[in-house]
């Protein structure tokens, strides 16, 4: 079953690529069918609530296992990825050309993501990580604004560099663990049993490598420089996947591979990590306020929200970690909603630059309401998904460090500034004379895409307990790494 959910999209991608050379519409329908099926299967598994696992020797000489384990957290994130892929397809239905190429790439990325969330071996994780990234480059470069090539190349260079650093860190970890215990293995299950002891230079290097490798993807505050450009220039459908689903992989990696594998050094870093998360959150929000176009605002808001997750991660505390899981889902949904709005505006030949929009609500009230809904979700309105995540994160973070938790909480204020500003500039105000008068409101396909997101956001927001229970087991397992004893340093810097 596990192999099926991982490789089904990949095989389908190959089949579609080979089978639909010239038939774009067929490829589009098939891709949608495959993604829907995959998402439904994943959703069914998630509802089942069991942890799937599979363990086999792979490359015995180096202790590399073919070890897969998909638990509640991984399943939730996988379902999110699948759902976002559906939304990305629906909002790009007419705009994206050459589906015979786009569909397989999307499927391959999806396959990589599901595999990554399931991988229980570091090398396997790395393989899926790359499988996820490389199709993304092509999607970024070949679709999107005319000048998206450059940003895509930058994305590729940065992420590849980062993932190489990550690979080096993984190998160093392998060696360090081997030296410490005598067991040379990449298997996460085994590594987890005997975490790396001590705050040595080597473990610091490993942590740095992992932080850089995963942090770029998140993107963590000073490593975010590639993101605004890529988010702004790429096709919104692609960006839905990139920002909504793929960014989660970075946080997921940090969650899995830092604290549990080397608690001491990570705990020593944790105050700094919280500081980075809090400052990054504010910085992202402050930059979002400055932007002059819709996609720029969304990009920065996404950066801001992902940094809250980093704040939670390094707080390493029950509420914060559960909140982080919720936040990943909520951020994925809400940012996907915003980018979907951007995509729909792009379908109507509006690029979202403030000078070219304004007063669109008069023509498109339904789109406006959906837009407002996503903005409101993004700013953390109680009852919607993001609030559940943010409240838990901030409560947890404040319990751990009053200073950084409070600094992070200022995002409550800043997010609303950019949120209502962008909504007002795009949708409200006097009708911009440059806006053509024959814009159509949502059609049924667009409604379907947005409704999926809205319902998901509402359900998670009103009944977060469902999600909390789904992710509770893995989170509790992670929290078994008790760092309270290691956490002396945090209060010291308050």
């Amino acid at each position: 079953m596990l192999n099926l959910v991982i490789y089904f999209p990949l095989l389908a991608a190959a089949a579609i690529w080979l089978g639909c050379r010239e038939r774009g519409t067929l490829a589009r329908s098939l891709t949608l069918a495959v993604i829907c099926l995959e998402t439904l299967i994943l959703f069914g598994l998630a509802m089942g609530g069991n942890t799937l696992s599979l363990d086999a020797e792979w490359i015995a000489d180096y202790g590399i296992h073919y070890h897969l384990q998909l638990d509640g957290l991984g399943l939730a994130l996988s379902v999110l990825s699948g759902g976002l892929a559906v939304v990305a397809m629906l909002v790009g239905w007419e705009r994206i050309d050459r589906w015979q190429a786009f569909g397989p790439l999307l499927l391959a990325t999806l396959s990589g993501m599901v595999g990554l969330f399931a991988a229980y071996d570091l090398i396997l994780f790395y393989v899926f990580w790359e499988l996820m990234l490389i199709p993304m480059y092509f999607m970024l470069a070949m679709w999107g604004d005319p000048d998206s090539r450059r940003s895509a190349t930058q994305f590729m260079l940065v992420t590849v560099t980062a993932s190489l650093l990550m690979l080096v860190a993984i190998i160093l970890l392998f060696i360090a663990h081997g030296v410490q215990t005598g067991i040379y293995t990449f298997d996460y299950g085994i590594l987890k049993q005997t975490p790396l002891i001590g705050n040595t230079l080597l473990s610091k290097l490993i942590l740095a490598g992992l932080l850089l490798g995963f942090g770029v993807k998140v993107p963590v505050f000073p490593l975010h420089f590639w993101a605004p450009l890529a988010y702004r220039k790429g096709d919104p459908s692609v960006i839905i996947m990139l920002s909504g689903a793929m960014a989660n992989a970075g946080v997921y990696g940090l969650l899995r591979f830092t604290m549990p594998l080397m608690p001491e050094v990570t705990a020593a870093f944790a105050p700094w990590g919280m500081a980075i998360g809090a400052i990054g959150t504010l910085y992202g929000a402050a930059q979002a306020i400055r932007q002059e176009d819709l996609r720029g605002v969304i990009a920065w808001s996404s950066i801001s929200h992902m940094n809250i997750a980093i704040l939670a991660l390094f707080a390493w505390q029950a509420q914060a970690l559960h909140g982080m899981a919720l936040q990943l889902l909520a951020h994925g949904l809400s940012v996907a909603g915003l980018f979907a709005i951007a995509a729909l505006l792009l379908d109507r030949k509006r690029d979202g630059v403030y000078a070219n929009v304004g007063g669109l609500y008069a023509q498109m009230p339904k789109l406006g309401m959906c837009f407002l809904f996503f903005v409101v979700a993004t700013v953390g309105m109680p009852g919607l998904a993001n609030f559940a995540g943010e409240a838990l994160i901030l409560a947890g973070a404040i319990s751990r460090s009053i200073l950084w938790g409070s600094v992070g909480a200022v995002t409550i204020l800043l997010s609303v500034i950019y949120g209502v500003k962008v909504y007002g500039k795009v949708m409200l105000g006097p009708v911009n004379p440059r806006v053509p008068t024959e814009l159509w409101d949502l059609n049924s396909r667009e409604k379907a895409a947005l409704t999926v997101l809205i319902i998901a956001i509402l359900v998670i927001g009103l009944m977060p307990q469902l999600m909390i229970e789904t992710v509770h087991l893995p989170t509790a397992e992670l929290l078994a790494v008790n760092i309270d004893s290691l956490f002396g340093g945090v209060h010291a810097i308050d």
Binding site: F225, A286, G383, L394, A395, I398, S406, A409, G424, Q465
Partner: protein, 629 residues
Amino acid sequence: MTDALVTLPMMHHLLWLIPCAPLLGALLIIALDGLPTRAYGVIANLAVLVSALCVALLWLSGSWDMPVQTAYEWMHIDNWLLDVGFRVDRFTLVMASVSAWVGLLIHLFSTQYMRHDFGERRYFAYLNLFVGGMLLFITADNLILLYAGWEIMGLCSYALVSHYYTKDENVYAGRKAFVTTRIGDTALAIGIFLCFMQFQSLNLESIFQAAPQAPTGMIAAICILFMLGAFAKSAQFPLHVWLPDAMAGPSTVSALIHAATMITAGVYLIARTHVLFDLVPDVRWWVALVGAFTALYASVSAIGQNDIKRILAYSTISQIGYMFAALGVGGYSLALFHLAVHACFKALMFMSSGVIIEIYHHDHDIRNMGGLHKQQKFLSFAYLAGSLALAALPLVTASFYSKDAIIAATYTADHGAFLAGLGLLGALLTGVYSMRMYFMVFTGKARSEIHDYKMTWAMKLPLGILALGSLCLGFIQLPDSWSFGPHLLLPWLEPVLTSVALPEGHAGEMLELLGAAAAVIGILIAWPLTKAEVRSGRGVGNIGFLNKALYIDDLAKVLVIRPFLALCAVLGSVIDGLLLNGVLVAGVRRLMLNAAEVVSRGQGALVSRYVLLMVLGLMLIIGYLTVQL
């Protein structure tokens, strides 16, 4: 008191309907597409009616001692035990009644007032959501749910203030309202998280029980944060700047914001968490100071306004200031009393002002009005009732009983004379501006064309009820020092909200007299003032200092907003522009290019050079072998 007129044990299970009926109403209005426009108004009215009836049932059944209902578990992680739960006590019940019933009247009024207006469906959805948010806020039994209601109100204020969204300034006003109150929300949120950190619980009851054992510093921090939250929501100095601008929305929205919901939420918040505030009287004193100062400041500003709605806005700020003054000296029930009274006359005045503005063809300037009394008798009397209540005319209006008690109560606090002085001065000015407004609008000759406006029963009924309330609500609680008359409210609230000791004997009588005198003098000043203004065409409204409300708003723009935006810009250009993209990205790029150039020149596609290098390599290898062997 506990004898129930109607026994309804089911009431405990219907608590959820109080906030949820309007919320569901809003949802229905959004979800149901294609109904005739009137139907949305009906749905909205019915939804609020349901919760108003629920509140009434609570009264009738006499179940005001802590019915608690837990709907479902919202989030539960370790000790973060968060239910969607509702709780009602005596104090909550009063507040919920005000919100629900005044809200209902405003809804009823809106069905006529907003007829053929623009975006009716949207308007009613938000209106319902607004009332729902407020009731959620009131009935919540834990801090997060309370915060949820609080935030929903913020959103609705944004949406409703910028209801006429085609004008940039309206959109800006909505944004300003949302953002400014959000400053307070942030403080409140941090306060809530601190509460959680300290008490490991979010439930109000358990927090109140554990509070006395908590360290004072922490309680003080939490109280300060809550206080900031309340100040922003209730538009207290200096976070009041959003309220005058928020007049951009329809008048009924202003009525709702000022009377029944959002503005009063701050007062309710502090009263609700009074257990914490009682522990730190020093912090609480600051509440009183800010309240009293705001009361005076806003009255001064109100005098200088010409826009009828802005006058009302400043009057609200001022009246809420009195409530905060009461809260700050521990007179929670007094604040609640004044809140209820204020809700009546303020809703009345705002709704009437909406009609007035329609009549004068959307001109807000009172200098262009006048002479309306002859055309609209009913409106004139209703408005007069409201104005007199605002001015607190002794004996006959309700706010005489509520406001003067507050002024008297402030006298007992530290530096009480100063606080009471601020309050008395404010009361004097209140009389001036409130009656100036009435005289300018209704008396004299018409200074511009008066349109016909026919008020139907759906408009007259709410106005009538509210006018009656403005005049008579005070009779349920005559001053303590009076041996006769009913004393219903404060003793009844005593179990929940401790009342404050009023000054005894001489000082008390003095204050009472002074308060009454201030109101009367204010009203008396207003008449000649208005006469002079009408005659000369120039009056207090032309004093720029007053008209701009002491330039606080512009000051905020210069001191806060611009520096903040500049900071954002500087941070962005330094960190992203210079460091990351300038140094890092461009630097790496430069490095790579240079390296590529060097390497590229090195290879140059010259076969002979490759051979040369090969020979060199061979030579080195052989040389190595030679040395080794």
